[in-house]
Symmetry: C3
Subunit: 170 residues, 3 copies
């Protein structure tokens, strides 16, 4: 009788444990933390663009500068500014590099890598992208930005290589 | 004997239940639905760009306007148009905001949030992004678009905050 | 007594099996492989841009061309080049299409689709995006690029439709 009760009981425990369990996986928790940090950093670029657009009065849309003047007077704010374009390039570079990290990193995290190796990958990537942003916005002389770019790029390729080596299924 | 059969039987049940179970998680199902809607909306921007390029005969590549004329005659269609650039800016803004929502939202959904809180986040985000697109394309006067942007931005930051608060693992 | 040991033992087996199990799901393994390939292809676009920028001496930032000359002499390399812009447009189009594939494809893979149907979707998408890049960079005459675009677009919409049909939860 104890045995009969055992089966449904076990299943119930498992069902509840399941999702929590997925996030108790340490690699996935680390991935979640580093991803959240690097995506928040990327979101900061929107704020930086808005900041420079407002302080330098440089806009892309007529409705954005309507409060600075009417008609022809407002049109002079529809212009391109080096500083704003620099932030926008940094933002686009983030997108181009963080999207592959997101996709490949998530699947890599689910493929059961060694915890310390995985965390090393995540740390290097996040550090490299933060340094990339600093190099781009200050700006620092080259090859600071180029190096930051290639470290992040190499980390993502290294995870992609490990994924394809261990889990190739075409 | 009943007991000996019990162990493998239980495992088999669990294994089959497992993936289905993941998608039976209500938060993840809600995330899947709202994400699919907001990504489909983003994909619509490509169609809108193509529509304006074709109806206004504004192209970025020589091969795209080859059917409108030969040689020098075709080159006049290689131009920049306000309407097309507006759609492209709206599209890029979608990318910049939906990518963080995708990454942070997925990990947030796996971290076991309260269902009604999670659904509120998803609804606000999707509503804000749809309103952002409408404000950008009509366009509506500011601060319509700015407000839509900040609602979506705030929702993503709120999920990021909850993730880092409960699951920080560096 | 055997029964008392049974419960914790079963749970332990499940816990270990869990994550490995997720990646033993064949649809998810296939999604991981195809995603890694298409994201690596997208990352290649960064290298292509860097290659054309260096060989054609076309730069967007003053610090990037500092090694080619001082002051005014370096400024002449801050220019726009057709070839570089073409690669950048192809890269942005990749981003705009691979991001929805990533999000919708992952959730579709978790929703328990038929393996052969899922693999057909992934193959078509990856093939279409590779052909899109070739059509854009050579370039091939239209409608090569347009067709490649619409095949990838249709695949993503087909997965979105299946997700919303079977799992709508708003």
């Amino acid at each position: 009788m104890a045995n009969k009760r055992n089966t449904p009981y076990t299943i119930k425990v498992e069902k509840m444990a399941d999702l929590a369990q997925l996030m108790e996986n340490e690699v996935l928790m680390a991935f979640a933390s580093y991803t959240t940090i690097v995506l928040s950093k990327m979101m900061f670029m929107s704020t930086a663009t808005a900041f420079y657009r407002l302080t330098r009065k440089v806009f892309a849309n007529p409705e954005d500068c309507a409060s600075f003047g009417k008609g022809e007077n407002a049109k002079k704010y529809l212009r391109v500014d080096d500083r704003v374009e620099r932030v926008r390039r940094a933002h686009l570079n983030d997108l181009e590099n963080i999207v592959p990290f997101l996709g490949i990193g998530l699947l890599y995290s689910l493929s059961g890598p060694d915890l310390s190796t995985a965390v090393l990958h995540f740390r290097l990537f996040v550090g490299a992208r933060i340094y990339h942003t600093i190099s781009y916005l200050l700006p620092l002389p080259q090859p600071n930005r180029a190096l930051a770019f290639f470290v992040g790029y190499g980390v993502t390729l290294s995870m992609a290589y490990r994924l394809l080596k261990t889990r190739l299924y075409l």
